[in-house]
């Protein structure tokens, strides 16, 4: 099961991040998780939100470069070594992980957002291995 991630291109300039978040706020788009990666020149703000399509539409309207992409939100039980075991499965299947970030950690379950080189393939793989995945809606309900 895929989730839609909303990625926004942001040049490194004071106030730019706040402007982007302002657009989402005005349209009542709730942020469930984010990762901000940057170089010296620009950054990519990757967001899991409750309404990615609306977020994308509004950001485009306001002149931002943004993209919706398929990511897997994976729930694993919160125990030492579980993430590594999962990665081993993914590695063995020859799937490359482009990036990954943690989402939220509850007492028993941890969630990670993972972007794989092949979204279809990883989806099938996770299902085969009985790994629990979530949608944005699932998260929003939590």
């Amino acid at each position: 099961m895929f989730a839609k991630q909303l990625t926004v291109f942001i040049e490194n300039r004071t106030g730019r991040l706040s402007e982007v978040l302002g657009v989402l706020k005005e349209n009542n788009v709730n942020i469930l998780s984010l990762s901000l990666a940057d170089t010296t020149e620009f950054g990519l703000l990757r967001l899991i939100v409750d309404n990615a399509a609306l977020g994308k539409e509004k950001l485009t309207e306001n002149g931002y470069s943004s993209l919706l992409s398929d990511v897997s939100i994976i729930a694993i039980s919160h125990e030492v070594g579980n993430l590594q075991s999962l990665l081993k499965i993914i590695d063995r299947a020859g799937i490359n992980i482009e990036y990954m970030y943690g989402l939220s950690i509850q007492a028993t379950e941890a969630y990670i957002v993972l972007k794989a080189s092949d979204s279809e393939k990883i989806d099938a793989l996770l299902e085969e291995n009985g790994v629990k995945t979530l949608t944005c809606e699932d998260l929003a309900k939590m």
Binding site: Q5, E11, R16, F42, L44, G63, S65, L67, S69, K115
Partner: protein, 432 residues
């Protein structure tokens, strides 16, 4: 359509006409303009020495500095009473250059612009929206009278208030747009922001762009924004010579036809002043042979181009000047390398992931020049790899074309400054 029979004169007849007009003009300025008389005396040349067109080379050049030195009316060949219009350049780098027109000059100007508008496909049926700034700038009024003469309906909307411009275009069914290439692109952006598709919802079929270089890549961009069937031509002129109307492109896109019965073109080596043969690149020098108010002789335009005399497929025999690659004024010297901003523009427009707007920043770092090209990202991505590949491509292309290493800085769409008149895309922060 060809507007006037002079545009198709056989070379021999054209040269005969040019010589008689040249001799008349030289006689007149020698008699009436003390500054010219002094220049010619200093150069040891008299009006009667001009026996052939080749003798033009004996006459001294006139430069923008001469116009400043004789500010405001020192180079005029008529009394102020005979003038019916005065224009001036913005004068950002000193005193403005002042130009004046007699009634006859306005008629000549109108004639020249009517010709270039026809070259670009204009007809009496067109609704022509002129998005050049009206005022002291010659562009707007020049196009205005020339298009009006053809019988087009003029919408003198000037620059600014882009949303209203789009409304006029829609409601008046504007079919012909006059603007700088960069403002034409801006207008298309504004139209889209308003939910108006320039290609489907508007009727613009002709763009006569000018006052800024139109590179091939920019022409492509015009098609991308306004539709592939848009007839885009550029035209050339400058206030000192008259305004727009010195030359214009026909729909064959093989250079700009110079109105040679009004202007004699020459190409010179800008360093030595030596006249170069047809086909060689150098600085364009223009002599006005049908002007009363301000007939400049051998005016150095600082524009770099080439001349071709083979008749065009369109039927015109007028000499063609190659679309400009730049002005010697605009040329940047970066780490000892001569760079025209248009070369950088070509690179940027060749990369589909980038928008058409850009900014060139020059800074001094230690003893070296640092070139930064800021450009808007048009692609959508979630990957640094893609962004890095885009900047790498641009850097590589700049390296190949300019031989210079540049820093390429991607910025968000719609964040670089937009221009309504001439775009100012170069920021030279190197201390002078």
């Amino acid at each position: 359509m060809i507007w006037s029979k002079e545009e198709t004169l056989p070379r021999e007849e054209m040269e005969k006409l040019q010589l008689s007009r040249l001799q008349e003009t030289v006689n007149r300025v020698y008699a009436k303009v003390p500054a010219y008389r002094k220049k010619m005396d200093d150069a040891g040349v008299k009006p009667e020495d001009i026996k052939t067109l080749a003798d033009l080379a004996k006459l001294p050049f006139v430069t923008k500095q001469d116009m400043r030195d004789n500010y405001p009316f020192g180079l005029f060949a008529v009394d102020k009473d005979s003038l019916v219009r005065i224009h001036a350049s913005s004068g950002t780098t000193g005193k403005p250059t002042v130009v004046g027109y007699t009634q006859g000059d306005l008629e000549t100007w109108t004639e020249c612009v009517s010709r270039i508008a026809c070259m670009g496909g204009a007809t009496s049926k067109d609704v022509a929206q002129i998005c050049f700034g009206y005022g002291m700038f010659t562009g707007a009024l020049g196009l205005h009278y020339g298009l009006e003469k053809i019988g087009a309906a003029i919408v003198p909307s000037s620059t600014g208030n882009s949303e209203k411009q789009i409304m006029y275009m829609k409601d008046f069914e504007t079919s012909l747009l006059v603007a700088t290439p960069s403002y034409a692109l801006r207008l298309a952006e504004v139209a889209r922001e308003m939910g108006v598709d320039p290609e489907k919802d508007l009727k613009v079929r002709i763009a006569l762009v000018g006052s800024e270089l139109l590179t091939d890549a920019m022409r492509e961009e015009m098609h991308k924004f306004w539709g592939k069937d848009l007839l885009v031509t550029t035209n050339y002129g400058m206030s000192e010579l008259m305004g727009p109307g010195v030359s214009g492109e026909c729909l064959e896109h093989c250079g700009l036809h110079i109105n040679e019965d009004m202007f004699i073109p020459e190409i010179i080596n800008p360093e030595t002043g030596e006249v170069l043969p047809a086909g060689e690149q150098g600085e364009l020098v223009i002599t006005c042979i049908k002007k009363e108010g301000l007939p400049l002789i051998r005016y150095r335009t600082k524009d770099i181009t080439r001349l071709f005399y083979e008749p065009c497929k369109c039927g015109r025999t007028l000499c063609r000047m190659e679309n400009l690659c730049g002005r010697s004024d605009d040329m940047l010297k970066i780490r000892g390398v001569n760079v025209f901003p248009s070369q950088i523009e070509e690179v940027i427009l060749s990369v589909p992931e980038l928008g058409p707007h850009y900014e060139i920043v020059l800074e001094r770092e230690g003893y070296s020049d640092k070139l930064t090209v800021k450009v808007e990202l048009a692609a959508e991505t979630d990957s640094f790899g893609v962004l890095e590949a885009i900047t790498k491509t641009v850097r590589h292309k700049l390296q190949v074309i300019l031989g210079l290493d540049a820093k390429v800085q991607l910025v968000s769409p719609n964040t670089l400054q937009r221009f309504e008149g001439k775009a100012k895309r170069v920021k030279d922060l190197r201390s002078k």
